[in-house]
Structures are given as structure tokens and as C-alpha cells.
Amino acid sequence: MLPTDRIRSASLERSLLGRDASIFEGGRAGPVCFPVSTEEVQGCVDAARRHNRAVVPRGAGTGLAGGAVPLEEPLVVVTTKMNRLLSVDADRRMAWVQPGMINLDLSRATAPYGLHFAPDPSSQQVCSLGGNVGTNAGGPHCLAHGVTSAHVLAVEVVLTSGEAVVLGESDGWAPGLDLRGAYVGSEGMMGITTAIAVRLTPDPPAVQTLLLAFDSVDSAAQTVSAVIADGIVPAAIEMMDNNIIRAVEEFVGAGFPTDAAAVVIVEVDGLPGGVAAEADRVAELALGLGGSVRRAADDNERALLWKGRKSAFGAIARIKPNYYLHDTVVPRTRLAEVMKQVYEIVEEHELQVMNVFHAGDGNLHPMLLFDRREPGIMPRVHAAGAAIIEASLAVGGVLSGEHGIGMEKRDFMPLMFSEADLDAQARLRRAFDPEEMANPGKVLPTGASCADVNALDKVPEGVWG
């Protein structure tokens, strides 16, 4: 199996790996393995089977829904040492990578070919591609190009039977059911990813980034809807409210107007003619709804705007010690209305909220700020979170846009799915993992869980988003 220096069983390490970047504490790992090859992953699965333990795959541990929190001391398979770029085929615009490779490292490695990996979660400097596959990760630039599933051509998976199998085809199609598509987003419950064939996207020849500022959240949200309704699908549309604008300005000085109720960053990319026309039209729509428009003059200014957006989560640490980031999606036409409800819910529970989110796809990320030392605060945080979920579902929204269900929203699943719907999901999982040995206790509601929902400690910068 593995050399002993890549199997850890010391109590401290097992307890460190007992959590991910979510609010869940109290998970506890069994033996922790660091395989370097598919064969070693197969060895890990065989060992887990022999010792009658569950097996939990883990990448960088940046998940926000508790998907990688080990329950009942399973064998944990950490893929961080499987971090190589296996091959790049620039003509076919694809690459094979190992699951532990960091998301941003892939785009850096393919930059000389003028290609990049489109999904760019805010944690892209630290999150692993295997984790991106597990959660079907998104990011600001998934608006036009789609989430991870659209960028995964094939995956090599070690099933809980110990067999390694390739799902999908690196060329784009294998006859049969789309097992690849069923596997992406399965949150470690259908096997362990050991290699990924990713689709690479050509770098756009032209890019324009606009900063739109508004004196009400409502006009900002209406502008987002107006842009989409006008038949424009920009590369990204991100919104930030006044609370987060002020925090970011103090933190990095990105040049956001601190008196604006909300700003919207719109990025259009592609060939120069379409980019110019769409940027003009976006500006026109924003002005028509009472906004002001600033266009990034060069790459430096553009980088600064994105730095502001991506520093949001570092900035808020200066305001309250703890925060809980939510993730729901609503139809894009209902954005303004649900934003208003979010503010009302937060006020009712006497909490602070900051909003910085992927407005273009209606993907809300209300961030509740609190100090867990304050007595009685946690029930309020959770009540507000539940109310936000319910408000999103009430307008035809969904539980999660990109973080996944994990443990966080497992018990909310019946709000969105009937018993028959959930039974179908359980059947899919059993077809891949008949003994329910991979990452048990996640996604599908069952009995009580062992981990405690608790306040968040400090997580590495760049993880949230």
C-alpha cells in the first residue's frame, strides 16, 4: 500500500483534518492517507474495506458546506500530493490533470498556449481541481461559460469496489449514459477522483471591465436583470453592497465609491467588435437606471477592480471575528425582491450582513457577520440562514449554486425535493457505491449527524466565495 510516512494516525493530525472551511466542527478523521497514484488510491480503498471503514476523499479542504468533514473516523484520502499536470493537448484544447492540482496553477500552466480553465471559484489560489469536480464548483466567470461540469470531459475514478474506471471521453463523447455528468458534483459520495480531463478555454482577444455604481441596491439589481433581458451574457456580473464596499476600500483601496449603495462589476470579453458594442450597451442601461459608469482604462485598473472583489472576504475579518457565508440561487428576475427580503431577515435577527455575489446568475452570497462569544448568537445566525433559504426557494430558487449541500444543507433538501425525488438521488449514489462507503452522511438527509454546527474559526484567506 503506502509507505508509512504517507499514512498519518497521530491524534493531532486526525483532529486537524476533522473539518474543512465550513462552520462544522467535531468531525474526526481515522487514518489519513496521502497517495501519489491511482494504484495507491486503490490500495487505500482496499484497506478501508478490509477494516470496515468508510472512505472520505479530501482535496485542499476549502469546501464551505462540510462535504469533506469526516464522520465516525473514516479513512481519509488526501489528494494534495497528486498535484501534477499530466498532459496538455493545445490543439484539442484539453489537459489531463491530477486531482490535487490547484485550480489557478492549471490556468498558469496553460497560459503559454493562450488557454485557461474557465471555472474560477474565489478560492482558486488554494482549492484543488478534484474538489472542484466534487462540488461542481462555479466562480465569477461561470456566467457565460458554465460551471465545472461543462469543463470536465472525463474523470478517472476509483470506485468503492477498488476498481479504477474512466467516465466520459477526453475527446468529448463516449457512447452510453453520461456517467461523467452524474459523477461531477457528487461530493465524494460516488468514488475518489484520480485524474481529470479538463476542457481549456481560449483567452479572449478583448476584455472590458465596467464598474457601475448605484444609490440603491434595487437599481443595481434591476440593471443586472436589464442587461440579461437585453440579450447580453457578459463574462461576469458581480454585485457588492455598501457594507462590503466600505470594508474593501479600507482594506485594499480598489477605488470603489464608498457612498454608493451598491456597485456592479460587469466584464465582457470576446472579439473586439462585440466587446465594444456590449460594453456600450451595458453602460447605457446602467445610466438609464440612475447608475454611474466607470470603465477600466487598462489592465492595471481592471486587476485592481477584481482585487477589490476578491479581497472581500479578507476585508470583513476586520469588522467581526466570525462570518457565515450563504449560497442560494434565485431566478435573475427576482433578484431585487429577494435582496430586499435578505436585509429584512437580517434586521429581524439583529445581525449584520454583507452581500458580494454572482448577480448575473442570480447566485446570492449573503454573509452573516457575528461574534460567536456573544451569548445566544448562534441560534439567531442559523434562524436567519434558514429564513434566507426559505425566501430563495419561495420565488423558485434553489438551495445551493456552487458550494454544494454537504452537511450544511442536507436537512434542507426536503424543502426542495419530495421523497420520490430524494429516492432517485439515493439510487444514483447506490449504483456507484452500493455499500454507501464513500463519504457517508452527506447530501442526502438521514438521521442525526455527529458533527456540531458551531461558529467559524479563521480560515485561510481566499477560501470564501
Binding site: V165, A174, P175, L177, M189, L271, P331, R332
Partner: protein, 303 residues
């Protein structure tokens, strides 16, 4: 089904499917033979049809699976939108989804497998099951929508779907000529289609007028000239991996970016990986243990 979303049409579709006996959904019969013959004693049902809801500003549309793709396209066109489905005359939305063939423009517009946001199907026990969600982005639970696309209705009978829509391009143009498709793919930024028959390439450009002009100029410099459109695709689909493995076909048309080529004669494929076959068997056993849904069809033979 929460939120009282189940329409009467879906309820009566479920009742018609029932919970016993072999049953198949018939659409436009445009790809009826794909995946194997349907036994004669199979009861045939039709899925509900018609547009249920469409708010152009959301860029999603909810339709009965029995709706004709041409009808869907006409409704979307009025709002300046389209869906990434192949527009096959007489074919139904549910039919093209479960057959799983990409539209000819999939290279630039996106794959068929990514178009489906939510589906309601009748399970083998007669219950209605919803998978996916109505928004353009959703990771709530496992991604069963992907599994339905290309399933030939062997896991559930699709009654209603929500699809993602996109703006229709302002300008579009086909060009063709004796140029290397790999060079076209490398030199052009975002062609919406590249087809190749071994000698001639066809390339489709779309978007803003000045961009299409400049890209067409580039394509001309590589040996392509404007044309009305590509030849129609031959009847049988084959993975391009099979072409690369050295199989000989008299004539074929490769569709870049989809892993597919089309040939005139059916052919035997190399045996799939036994582990892949086993996963197919287990999925069928979980979703349709009695084998009553679209009997005779095999997605692994869906060529």
C-alpha cells in the same frame, strides 16, 4: 413535488404510464431506431406538449417534453433567443434530449448535455420525480439531469423540462474549403462549428457583424469561402476516438468539439470497459429493475 408545481398534464402523463407493463414514449420518430428496436408489445405514450412558462429576462423556458423543437425554437426566436438543441423537423424536445446528439453548432454554443436545468420524469413505479432545479446555476443534490440526456428514456420517462436559453446571434455565416480543421480551430477565436469530411472543412461563424467579418477574412486566408451550409449529417454517430483508432469508413463527417463523427453505415464498436458496463447495469437495476421503460433500447448502443 413540492410547491404545487405538478401540473394536471404531468399527473395524467404519469397515470397513462402507470406502474406496470412495458412502455415507451414516442416523439417524432426521427431517431426511433437509435439504441435498438422497441419490442412490438410495448405500450406507446406521448409526453405532454406546450410551453408552460417563459420569461425572456430569466433566459430559461419550461416546456412539455412532447413539444416540437421547431415550436420551441419559434417561441424563443420571437424573444431573440435560442436553446442549444438540434432543430430537427418533427422531433420533440424530450426526444432530442434523450437521444443525446449535439446541435451542429455545439462547438461554440455549448453541448446538449448542458442545456437541461430541471426535468420531471415518470419513474418505473409511476411516481413523478423532479431532478435539477429551475435556475441557471444549481448544485442542490446529485446531477441527475446529466444522466437523463442521452439515456433513451431507459431510466425514466421525461414529461417536462426547464432549459437554459441564450441570445440569438446577430450575424452568422458558413464557410468551407480544403483547409485543415485543426488550423481553423487554432486560428479562429470562437467558431460555433467546425465539420470535416477528411478533405473539406466547414466552419460556422456568428456574433457581432464586424467580428464575423474579421474572422471570415481570416478563414478565407486559410482557404475557406462562403457557402450556404454544411451537408446534412449521416445517420449514425460514432465516437471520434473510434476514427482515431484506425477504423476505416468510406465517408464520414467529424463534428469538432463534441467527440462525435457521423457515418452512413452502422458498425460494431470496440467492447466498452467492463466496469463501465457494470455501472450501466447497476443504474438500470436501480432505476428500472423490471426493465419496463423503453425496453429494447441500450444507451451503450445508441449510435
Amino acid at each position: 413535488m413540492p410547491n404545487g408545481e405538478t401540473g394536471a398534464a404531468l399527473e395524467s402523463f404519469a397515470a397513462e404510464v402507470g406502474s406496470d407493463g412495458p412502455v415507451a414514449v414516442v416523439g417524432g420518430r426521427t431517431h426511433w431506431e437509435v439504441g435498438g428496436p422497441c419490442p412490438d408489445d410495448t405500450r406507446l405514450v406521448r409526453a405532454p406538449s406546450g410551453v408552460r412558462s417563459f420569461d425572456p429576462a430569466d433566459m430559461t423556458i419550461r416546456v412539455g417534453a412532447g413539444t416540437l423543437v421547431e415550436e420551441l425554437d419559434a417561441v424563443l426566436a420571437e424573444a431573440g433567443q435560442r436553446a442549444n438543441l438540434p432543430i430537427v423537423p418533427e422531433a420533440t424536445v424530450g426526444g432530442v434530449l434523450v437521444v443525446g446528439r449535439d446541435d451542429v453548432h455545439a462547438l461554440g454554443r455549448g453541448r446538449l448535455r448542458d442545456v437541461l436545468l430541471e426535468a420531471v420524469y415518470v419513474a418505473e413505479d409511476g411516481r413523478l420525480v423532479k431532478v435539477g432545479g429551475p435556475t441557471v446555476k444549481n448544485v442542490s443534490g446529485f446531477d441527475l439531469c446529466r444522466l437523463l440526456v442521452g439515456s433513451l428514456g431507459t431510466l425514466g420517462l421525461v414529461g417536462e423540462v426547464i432549459l437554459r436559453t441564450w441570445p440569438r446571434p446577430a450575424v452568422q455565416q458558413w464557410l468551407s474549403g480544403p483547409c485543415d480543421p485543426a488550423v481553423l480551430r487554432r486560428e479562429l477565436y470562437w467558431p460555433s462549428s467546425i465539420l470535416w469530411d477528411g478533405q473539406t472543412s466547414w466552419v460556422h461563424l456568428e456574433g457581432h457583424e464586424s467580428d464575423v467579418e474579421s474572422e471570415a477574412e481570416l478563414a478565407r486566408s486559410l482557404g475557406c469561402n462562403p457557402t450556404d451550409g454544411p451537408p446534412s449529417l449521416p445517420a449514425h454517430r460514432v465516437p471520434t476516438a473510434a476514427l482515431e483508432a484506425g477504423r476505416l469508413f468510406d465517408s464520414y463527417l467529424v463534428q469538432f468539439g463534441t467527440g462525435s463523427a457521423y457515418v452512413h453505415e452502422p458498425f460494431p464498436l470496440p467492447e466498452p470497459d467492463p466496469a463501465v458496463v457494470a455501472l450501466h447495469r447497476r443504474l438500470k437495476a436501480e432505476f428500472d429493475p423490471r426493465g419496463r421503460l423503453n425496453p429494447g433500447r441500450d444507451p451503450l448502443a445508441a449510435l
